[in-house]
C-alpha cells in the first residue's frame, strides 16, 4: 500500500464552499436536469396527444354511422301490383320482384310531399327515386312476404333514405358539393329540408349497421358489419380451439420437460422469430399451404382461422411460458416429494396455478388476431363477398365470408365517401370488442394475480 501513503498530506479541497448557496456550475447542471426532465414529459405528452387525436378522429368520424336517415310515410300496398291473382298465396307474392314495390314507395313519398303542400318542380313520383335507397323496396318486399295480410292496407313504413340524403342530414353532402352529382339535385334537398321540419325525414338508431350484411358499391346506406362479425367469430373459434391447447402443450413441453440441447434451442429460436415475422408473411403461408396445397375453400373463415392460429401461437407460447415460469419451483418439489410423477406435478399443481396467466395471454393473443387484416387479404376474405348470413355452423366455417377488419378495409377502399363513415363506425365496433377482451384480461389478472 505504498502508493497510498506517498500521497498523504492536507485535505486537497480548498476552502469549503457553502452548501446552501448553489454555485454557478451547479445552477447550470440543475437547469440541464430540468430540461432533460421536460423532454421526457414532452415525449409522454406527445404520445398521449397522438392517442387523443386518434381516438377523437375515430369517434367524431365514426359515431354518425350509428344513426341512419329514414323517411317515415304511409305506403299503400296496392293489391293489383303485389298480388295480381288475389289469392294471397306466398308463392305468388314472392314472384313479384322489387320492381313491383318501387313505384309504391315513390308514390307514397310523392303523395306526402304534395299533402304537405311543399312547393316543388317535380311532377312525377319517379323523381322521388333520388331520396330513396335502392334497398327500400327489398325491405318492404320482405315485410310483405312475411305477412301477406298487409296487402291492400296502408302501412306506416320507415323508408331507408338514399345515402346522399343521409349525408345531407349528417353534413357530409352540401348544396355546393352536389352540383356535379347525377344522383341528386338541389330540388331534392329542398324537399328534404321541408320534410325534415315536420319529422317525416329523421335520423334514428342504425341497427342494420350492427347486424346487417355488406352492400354493393352504390348502396352504402345499407351496408352493415353483422355478417363479417360472424366471420370473425368463426375465425376466433378456430383460433381459440387450436391455438390454446397447442400453445399450452408446447409451452409445457419447453418449460417443464425439454432437455437442454441444441434441438430445444432450435425450437425456441423458431418461436421467438415467428413472433416477429410480419403478419403478411403468414398470409402468404396461408395462401400457399391451405389454399394452393390443401385446396381448402378460398375466403373461408376456417382458412382465416388456421392462418391466424399459426400467427397467434408464438404470442400464446411466450405468455404461457412466462406464467409457468412464475410458479415457484417449490411447488413442483412439493409434489415430487409426495411421490407424484413429473407429469402429475405439472398437470395437477403447476398448470392450475398458471391458468389465469395463460388465459390472460390467450385473450390478448385473440384480441391481436381479431384486429389483424393483412393475412386475410391474401386468402381472399375481402371484396364484396359477405352478403348473407351463413346457413348453419358448417357453412359458417366453410362458406366465403369476410371479417371485421377486412370489411373495414374493403369499405375504406371504396370510392363513395359515405363508406368512410361506415369504415370509422366499423372501427368503433372493432375497438369495443378489443376493449372488452382486454378488460376481461385485466380483470382476470387482477383477480388471480399472485405474488410468490
Amino acid at each position: 500500500m505504498t502508493d497510498a501513503t506517498s500521497q498523504g498530506g492536507a485535505r486537497p479541497s480548498g476552502p469549503s464552499t457553502r452548501l446552501t448557496a448553489a454555485d454557478s456550475r451547479t445552477k447550470k447542471r440543475n437547469a440541464s436536469e430540468k430540461r432533460f426532465r421536460a423532454y421526457g414529459l414532452a415525449a409522454i405528452g406527445t404520445g398521449l396527444f397522438f392517442l387523443v387525436v386518434l381516438l377523437t378522429s375515430i369517434i367524431s368520424n365514426g359515431s354518425t354511422a350509428f344513426m341512419q336517415t329514414f323517411i317515415e310515410v304511409p305506403v299503400y300496398l296496392d293489391p293489383e301490383a303485389l298480388d295480381p291473382n288475389g289469392n294471397r298465396d306466398p308463392a305468388d307474392i314472392s314472384k313479384v320482384s322489387t320492381f313491383g314495390y318501387n313505384p309504391l314507395i315513390q308514390n307514397a313519398v310523392f303523395e306526402q310531399v304534395q299533402d304537405k303542400g311543399i312547393a316543388t318542380d317535380y311532377e312525377d313520383a319517379g323523381d322521388m327515386k333520388a331520396l330513396i335507397s335502392a334497398s327500400a323496396a327489398a325491405q318492404l318486399r320482405d315485410r310483405v312476404i312475411a305477412n301477406p295480410d298487409l296487402i291492400g292496407e296502408t302501412v306506416d313504413f320507415q323508408i331507408l333514405a338514399s345515402s346522399r340524403v343521409d349525408g345531407y342530414l349528417k353534413g357530409r353532402v352540401g348544396r355546393d358539393s352536389i352540383t356535379q352529382d347525377r344522383n341528386i339535385d338541389a330540388g331534392h334537398l329542398d324537399i328534404v329540408d321541408a320534410l325534415r321540419e315536420d319529422g317525416t325525414v329523421h335520423k334514428s338508431f342504425n341497427f342494420a349497421f350492427i347486424t346487417g350484411a355488406d352492400a354493393s358499391e352504390s348502396r352504402p346506406e345499407q351496408a352493415g358489419l353483422g355478417v363479417s362479425m360472424l366471420g370473425s367469430f368463426f375465425m376466433m373459434l378456430v383460433v381459440l380451439f387450436l391455438a390454446l391447447p397447442i400453445g399450452v402443450a408446447a409451452s409445457i413441453y419447453l418449460e417443464e420437460f425439454a432437455p437442454q440441447n441444441k434441438f430445444t434451442d432450435f425450437i425456441e429460436v423458431n418461436i421467438s422469430n415467428l413472433a416477429a415475422v410480419p403478419s403478411i408473411v403468414f398470409g402468404i403461408l396461408g395462401l400457399a399451404a391451405f389454399i394452393q396445397f390443401a385446396h381448402l375453400p378460398q375466403s373461408a373463415p376456417l382458412v382465416g382461422g388456421l392462418t391466424l392460429t399459426l400467427m397467434t401461437l408464438p404470442t400464446i407460447v411466450i405468455s404461457t411460458r412466462a406464467s409457468l415460469k412464475a410458479v415457484p419451483p417449490s411447488i413442483r418439489d412439493a409434489a415430487l416429494g409426495v411421490g407424484a410423477s413429473k407429469m402429475q406435478s405439472v398437470f395437477h399443481h403447476v398448470l392450475p396455478l398458471a391458468m389465469p396467466g395463460i388465459l390472460t395471454g390467450t385473450i390478448i393473443g385473440l384480441a391481436q388476431a381479431l384486429g389483424e387484416t393483412a393475412p386475410l387479404l391474401l386468402i381472399g376474405m375481402v371484396g364484396y363477398i359477405a352478403t348473407n348470413y351463413p346457413e348453419g355452423v358448417i357453412s359458417g366455417f366453410m362458406s366465403p365470408n369476410s371479417a371485421m377488419p377486412a370489411q373495414i378495409y374493403e369499405w375504406a377502399k371504396r370510392a363513395d365517401p359515405a363508406y368512410y363513415e361506415r369504415a370509422w363506425g366499423g372501427i368503433i365496433i372493432l375497438l369495443v370488442f378489443l376493449l372488452v377482451m382486454n378488460v376481461i384480461a385485466i380483470v382476470l389478472r387482477r383477480k388471480f394475480e399472485r405474488r410468490w
Binding site: 414532452a42 415525449a43 408446447a250 390443401a294 385446396h295
Partner: protein, 484 residues
C-alpha cells in the same frame, strides 16, 4: 360429412376403450394394480386415437396432392388450350367434379350416370346448371373425363382412408385392452404418450417455419423460371402490366420501404426512448400506473385503424399544410411522410416498453454509485444508464425497424401506389408489403409473373426481417445475460 363421421367413430371407440380398459383392471381383483384405474383407461383411449387421427390428418393432406398429380399426368399437355395453364384446367376439372357431386347429391343424376356421361351425348353444362352449379364455359371431353377420374380416385381414396383409420382404431383398441392388467405400467405408458404429444405441439413452430420457407421458396422458384432474377434484382423500374411485358424491379419498392421505416423510426425512437426514460427514472408510481397503460393502448390498436387514420386524417392534414394551398411540396394525401408519421406513432409504445424493460434491468447499484458521487439524475441517465443499456436499446430499435418494414395496412392506405425512386418525403411511394397485397388481391392469373412476383417480394421481406430479428434477439439476449 364422412370425415366428421370418421372422427366421431374413432372418438366413440376411444370412449369404449377407456371404459373397457378401466373395467378390466378394477374387476380383476387380487394384487393392487401398478397405476390408478383411469390410467389404464387413458392408455387404451390414447392407443385408439393417436394413430387413427394421425393417419386421418396425413391422409387428408396427402390425398388431394396425389389425386391432383395423377389427374394432371392423365391430362397431359394436349388438354391445355393455347394461352391457358395446367392450373386453370385443373380448377375447371375440380369445378366440374364438384358439380357432378352436387348433382348426384340432389338426386338429379345417378352416380353411374355421373361416371359414364360423355360430352358427345350430354350437355354437361346444362345438366349441372339444373343443380345450381354454374359453369363459365362448355365442358371439353378431356376435362369431363378428368373430372370423372378425379371423382373415382377421390372416392377410392376416401374408402381406403375410412378403412385404414377404422382398422387402426380397432387395432389400437385391441392392443390397449390386452395390455390392461395389473402389472402393466399404465401411468408410465400414458405419460410417455403425453410427452410425445407435447413435443409435437412444440415442433409445430418448426413446421410453421418450414411451411413459410417452402411456400416462399417454391413459388419464388416458379417466378424466377418465368422472369429472370437478374431483372428482378437489377431493374430500377416497377411497372407491372397484367397484359404482359411487365418490368418488375424490386429497388423502388425496397427504397419506399426503407424510406418510410426511417421516418417511422425518427418519430418513434426519440419519443419512445424519452418516454421510457421518464417513466422508469422520474415518474412516481401513480404516474406510471396510468401513463404506461395509456401509451400501450397505442400498441393494442389494430393496424387497420392506423391505416384509416393515415388515409383520412393525417394525409388530408399534411396536405393542407404542405400541399398546393400551403407549401406546395405535396401532391396528394398519400405520401411517404403520411405513412412514416403514422407508423411512427404506432411504434412509440413498442420502443418505449422494450426500452423500459431494458432500462429497468440496469442494476440499481450503478444508479446509487452515480448519485453517491453527486451526479444529477440526468447525468446519471445520460452517462451511466443509457451507455449501460445501449446494446439492449439497439436491439429494441432493430426489432422496431423489423416491425416497420413488415407493416402492411398503414402503407397500403397511407403511402400510395406509385413505385418510384425519389428523395422527396412528400411524394407517394410504395413498399414491398403493399405490393404483395396488390399483386395477390388483383385479378391476375395465379401463374403469371405479375402474381408470382409477390412471393419473391415476400421472400425478400422474410429474409430482411428474419435477419434483423435474429440479430436483435441475439443482442438483447447477450445484454440480459450481462446483468443476470
Amino acid at each position: 360429412m364422412p370425415v366428421l363421421w370418421l372422427f366421431l367413430i374413432v372418438l366413440a371407440l376411444a370412449a369404449i376403450g377407456f371404459i373397457a380398459g378401466r373395467m378390466r383392471v378394477t374387476s380383476a381383483g387380487g394384487k393392487r394394480p401398478h397405476s390408478l384405474p383411469n390410467y389404464y383407461g387413458w392408455n387404451v383411449a390414447m392407443k385408439v386415437m393417436v394413430p387413427a387421427y394421425l393417419a386421418l390428418v396425413v391422409w387428408l393432406l396427402a390425398q388431394p396432392f396425389l389425386v391432383n398429380s395423377q389427374v394432371v399426368g392423365m391430362l397431359g399437355d394436349r388438354a391445355v388450350p393455347e394461352g391457358s395453364t395446367i392450373g386453370l384446367v385443373m380448377s375447371d376439372v375440380r369445378r366440374v367434379a364438384d358439380g357432378l357431386d352436387a348433382t348426384v347429391a340432389q338426386g338429379l343424376m345417378t352416380s353411374e350416370e355421373a361416371n359414364s356421361i360423355r360430352t358427345e351425348f350430354t350437355d354437361v353444362r346444362d345438366r349441372l346448371g339444373e343443380a345450381g352449379v354454374a359453369l363459365g364455359s362448355n365442358v371439353s371431353s378431356e376435362v369431363l373425363s378428368a373430372a370423372q377420374t378425379y371423382r373415382t380416385l377421390n372416392a377410392t381414396g376416401n374408402f381406403w382412408m375410412s378403412t385404414v383409420v377404422i382398422l387402426l382404431a380397432v387395432g389400437g383398441l385391441a392392443w390397449g385392452i390386452t395390455q390392461s392388467h395389473g402389472s402393466f405400467r399404465a401411468r408410465n405408458s400414458v405419460e410417455t404418450g403425453v410427452r410425445i404429444i407435447l413435443l409435437s405441439a412444440a415442433m409445430l413452430a418448426i413446421l410453421t417455419t418450414i411451411g413459410i420457407v417452402l411456400s416462399l421458396v417454391g413459388n419464388t422458384w416458379h417466378f424466377f423460371q418465368i422472369y429472370p432474377a437478374s431483372k428482378f434484382f437489377g431493374s430500377f423500374t416497377w411497372s407491372p402490366s397484367f397484359g404482359g411485358g411487365s418490368e418488375l424491379g424490386i429497388w423502388p419498392l425496397l427504397w419506399g420501404t426503407l424510406y418510410i421505416s426511417i421516418i417511422a423510426l425518427i418519430v418513434a425512437v426519440p419519443i419512445g426512448l424519452f418516454a421510457a426514460v421518464y417513466l422508469s427514472e422520474y415518474a412516481g408510481p401513480r404516474m406510471r400506473a396510468w401513463a404506461k397503460p395509456l401509451l400501450e393502448v397505442l400498441a393494442g390498436i389494430p393496424t387497420i385503424v392506423y391505416g384509416l387514420f393515415a388515409l383520412l386524417t393525417v394525409g388530408p392534414l399534411l396536405l393542407s399544410v404542405f400541399g398546393r394551398d400551403g407549401l406546395g411540396w405535396m401532391q396528394a394525401g398519400t405520401a411517404v411522410m403520411t405513412a412514416g408519421l403514422v407508423m411512427g406513432i404506432m411504434l412509440i409504445p413498442f420502443v418505449s416498453s422494450l426500452s423500459d424493460d431494458i432500462i429497468n434491468s440496469v442494476p440499481q447499484s450503478l444508479r446509487d454509485g452515480s448519485y453517491g458521487l453527486g451526479a444529477t439524475q440526468s447525468e446519471t441517465i445520460k452517462q451511466v444508464i443509457l451507455p449501460a443499456a445501449l446494446p439492449g436499446i439497439v436491439g429494441a430499435v432493430l426489432l422496431a425497424a423489423s416491425r416497420a418494414i413488415g407493416e402492411t395496412m398503414i402503407v397500403v392506405f397511407g403511402a400510395g401506389a406509385a413505385a418510384r425512386l425519389s428523395l422527396n418525403p412528400f411524394d407517394a411511394m410504395t413498399t414491398v408489403t403493399a405490393k404483395i397485397v396488390s399483386q395477390l388481391t388483383g385479378d391476375a392469373d395465379f401463374a403469371s409473373p405479375e402474381a408470382l412476383v409477390a412471393f419473391a417480394l415476400g421472400m425478400t421481406l422474410f429474409i430482411i426481417t428474419l435477419g434483423l430479428n435474429v440479430f436483435a434477439l441475439y443482442i438483447v439476449r447477450k445484454y440480459r445475460e450481462q446483468y443476470e
